[in-house]
């Protein structure tokens, strides 16, 4: 993991002092709420329905055990003993007092964390593959480049008042677990014909009111040119992106209106001025950052690992968990363990202080002290010996963290919705819970195979409903909660947006409507086809007919 040097520490201390000053000017009445708002947002502090919410950055979703313990401590001292992991690999605390927020930032700084640019019209936390550095076949480790981008974008003086927020995601694998096609900029590490490693750059993806799949603006940008090319895109966007309408201000609208060719032309013209300038990173700096992400000293382990296979044979629940929650590791004898934060009836992404501490402890014991947060609101222990997997699972199960549902229908993404959020039209969390209860039988869930359900409580789409195999969007209809259902969305390397199946259904009707979609899938599927596979083969019709059946 990246570790701060004296410069990073000094910067963070200055930043905390600056924010403390801003808060005291606000509390003294020297700043109006209007003047204070952009300042607190630069530090991730939102004013929500009931209280202030603090969004803490987890750079590219990577945490140490020590950092996780600090998050637990913060949740206990300054909040109500829990935290909410988000779809942007961050964590939110929902019950924060303004006057305590500088102290929280100081606590975070002590473990090399912060809340900078988790909000506002700035470059947000860069997100990445939660399996980075653990999965086989990566072209390069995306975390190296995420950290380089994190530093470049931190308090960038030119890009702190962009037309709208700006999100960058990086993947180092062909299998895209970072949803790069629905980000303002998506970076895919690539090898060119000469064997050099660089980046395919996508631009203009995004969800929200106007969902768009990103388009390739450049097939290959070299490592040397990465930052100057990013700066050229950002400058072009800053200067010509729309500012007349908040809902048309994201870069996806600029790309849509101008066309990718014209955007490319303008970015290239800007890049000509920048590419040989001061943004060319010294090789030593890249090497310095890369060294922090060197592979740990893995043990040489003979496979198959007998104790692991025996445990799977003898313990059916464990076997089921390994089927969904353990992914292949680059090193023989190791596995990547995914911890579900989606128990039936729980709040997707929530973890209590005790659970955070348990995960910290288990990560220390079994995963070299490393933890990841996924954009599907789960946690990952990236480096677990298969021989330790059964003990890990028992430890997780004791803490209520042993749910065997990763990638299954109950592994739902939901935004906070009307229970917390000032923007929401409808509730999301109870909708997720009711769907989970409807398909609670774990054998049935496994039979339904890989199937993503994503729920947003308003068109801002924080629950990513557009890219759910089943997407559910809450809409307000004359004061009543209704839900529009889409199917066929996906977030991976074949990303596509879901199709609306028909008129919205009421809050009470959602579970039954989902049930009918599942029935249609089971009736139509062939062999080992998944829901999305069946949908892509047979199309909307059978699903639509199933939901809007007239008795």
């Amino acid at each position: 993991m990246y570790q701060y040097d004296q410069y990073d520490h000094a910067f963070m201390a200055n930043r905390v002092d600056q924010y403390r000053g801003q808060v005291s000017r606000r509390l003294a009445g020297d700043l109006s709420e209007d003047q204070f708002k952009p300042l607190r947002l630069m530090n991730g502090l939102y004013l929500q329905l009931h209280a202030y919410m603090l969004r803490v950055a987890i750079p590219y979703g990577t945490l140490s055990s020590g950092q996780m313990r600090k998050l637990a401590e913060i949740s206990r001292t300054y909040d109500r003993g829990y935290g909410h992991f988000t779809t942007r690999q961050n964590i939110q605390f929902n019950w924060i007092k303004l006057e305590q927020s500088p102290d929280i930032l100081a606590e975070l700084a002590s473990v090399e964390m912060h809340a900078i640019q988790t909000s506002g019209n700035t470059i947000r936390n860069t997100t990445s593959d939660p399996f980075a550095g653990a999965v086989a076949g990566e072209i390069d480790d995306p975390r190296v480049w995420c950290e380089i981008i994190r530093q470049w974008s931190t308090l960038h003086p030119e890009f702190s008042f962009l037309p709208r927020k700006f999100k960058i995601a990086v993947t180092g694998s062909e299998d895209d677990r970072a949803a790069i096609k629905v980000h303002d900029i998506g970076l895919a590490l690539r090898r060119n014909e000469a064997g050099e490693i660089g980046f395919e750059v996508l631009v203009g993806g995004g969800l929200g009111r106007t969902p768009m799949i990103g388009k390739t603006i450049r097939e290959f940008v070299s490592q040397r040119d990465l930052l100057s090319y990013l700066e050229a895109i950002l400058r072009t966007y800053n200067l010509i992106g729309r500012r007349d309408n908040k809902y048309k201000a994201r870069i996806k609208i600029m790309v849509h209106e101008l066309g990718i060719d014209e955007v490319r032309r303008q970015v290239d013209a800007e890049w000509e001025h920048l590419r040989d300038g001061a943004l060319v990173l010294p090789e030593e700096e890249i090497a310095r950052i890369r060294a922090f992400f060197a592979a740990p000293a893995f043990e040489t382990i003979e496979t198959p690992v007998r104790s692991y296979e025996v445990a799977r044979f003898e313990d059916q629940d464990f076997a089921r968990w390994t089927k969904t929650n353990v992914a292949a590791h680059r090193q023989p004898g190791y596995g990547i363990a995914v911890i579900s934060l989606k128990p039936t009836g729980g709040v997707p992404g929530d973890a209590t202080a005790e659970q955070m501490e348990k995960v910290a402890e288990l990560a220390e014991r079994y995963s070299l002290g490393e933890i990841r947060v996924t954009h599907t609101q789960n946690l990952v222990l990236p480096h677990v010996r298969l021989s330790d997997m059964h003990s890990l699972w028992q430890g997780l199960s004791d803490a209520g963290l042993g749910t065997a549902n990763i990638g299954l229908i109950s592994d739902i993404i939901a935004c906070p919705g009307l229970d917390y959020c000032a923007l929401a039209n409808t509730r999301s969390i109870p909708v997720a819970q009711r769907i989970q209860q409807r398909v609670d039988n774990i054998d049935r869930q496994h039979d339904l195979r890989e199937l993503s359900v994503k729920i947003s409580g308003c068109i801002n789409a924080c629950g990513h409903h557009h890219i759910g195999n089943i997407g559910i969007l809450g809409v307000d209809r004359r004061g009543e909660e209704y839900y529009q259902i889409t199917i066929g969305g996906r977030a991976d390397e074949n990303a596509r947006l879901g199709d609306v199946i028909g008129p919205a259904v009421s809050y009470d009707e959602v579970p039954a409507a989902v049930e009918r979609l599942l029935d249609a899938y089971v009736a139509e599927r062939k062999d080992d086809e998944t829901f999305i596979g069946t949908y892509e083969r047979v199309g909307l019709k059978p699903f639509k007919e199933a939901v809007y059946v007239t008795d």
Partner: protein, 171 residues
């Protein structure tokens, strides 16, 4: 209106001339881009010094050929949330190597001051009731720079690797 230039509060030697007011010979005046384009030779002849105001939707390219005769380029922030002029200021400094005054006007707030300085702005029109000493303090709140910009500050990646900085950055 008071003016901070290079961290010092001074009396503003410049006047703002709207498009309908005749230029008084011997004065130093800042005019709109439109007027500058229409009356360039006459303004140069009449005025003791000329500056141009770029609105946030007006590009630095528009005056690229005139920068040697312009002593001031004012860049507008119609609302603090409109960040276009940060880019304009950097383009003036870094692309065109403009050495005259780049002045921030409009909704210029204490907490954006540091960003503006980094982008090459060296003069700031402030409302009369602000505490200018406090402003000067604001610019030093975050001495660290993670990225190069137009203020000549070495980005951390150069300090760390001790590699020399391009000379032109210290304009």
């Amino acid at each position: 209106m008071s003016l901070i230039r290079n961290g010092v509060v001074i009396d503003d030697p410049w006047i703002r001339l709207d498009d309908d007011t005749p230029a008084t010979p011997g004065t130093r005046a800042i005019v709109s881009l439109k007027r500058w384009k229409a009356e360039k030779p006459r303004l140069i002849e009449t005025l003791a010094g000329t500056g141009v105001l770029l609105k946030s939707n007006e590009a630095a390219e528009e005056i690229a050929g005139d920068l040697s005769v312009l002593e001031v380029v004012a860049v507008d922030f119609p609302a603090f949330t409109d960040g276009r002029s940060y880019s304009t200021a950097r383009i003036l400094r870094e692309r065109y190597r403009y050495l005259g005054e780049v002045r921030a006007v409009g909704d210029v707030l204490r907490d954006q001051y540091g960003f503006m300085v980094r982008c090459g702005v060296d003069a700031f029109e402030l409302a009369d009731d602000v505490d200018s000493a406090d402003w000067v303090k604001a610019v030093n709140e975050i001495p660290t720079a993670y990225q190069p910009a137009a203020d000549g500050r070495s980005p951390l990646f150069r300090i760390r690797t001790d590699t020399p900085q391009d000379a032109w950055l210290a304009y």
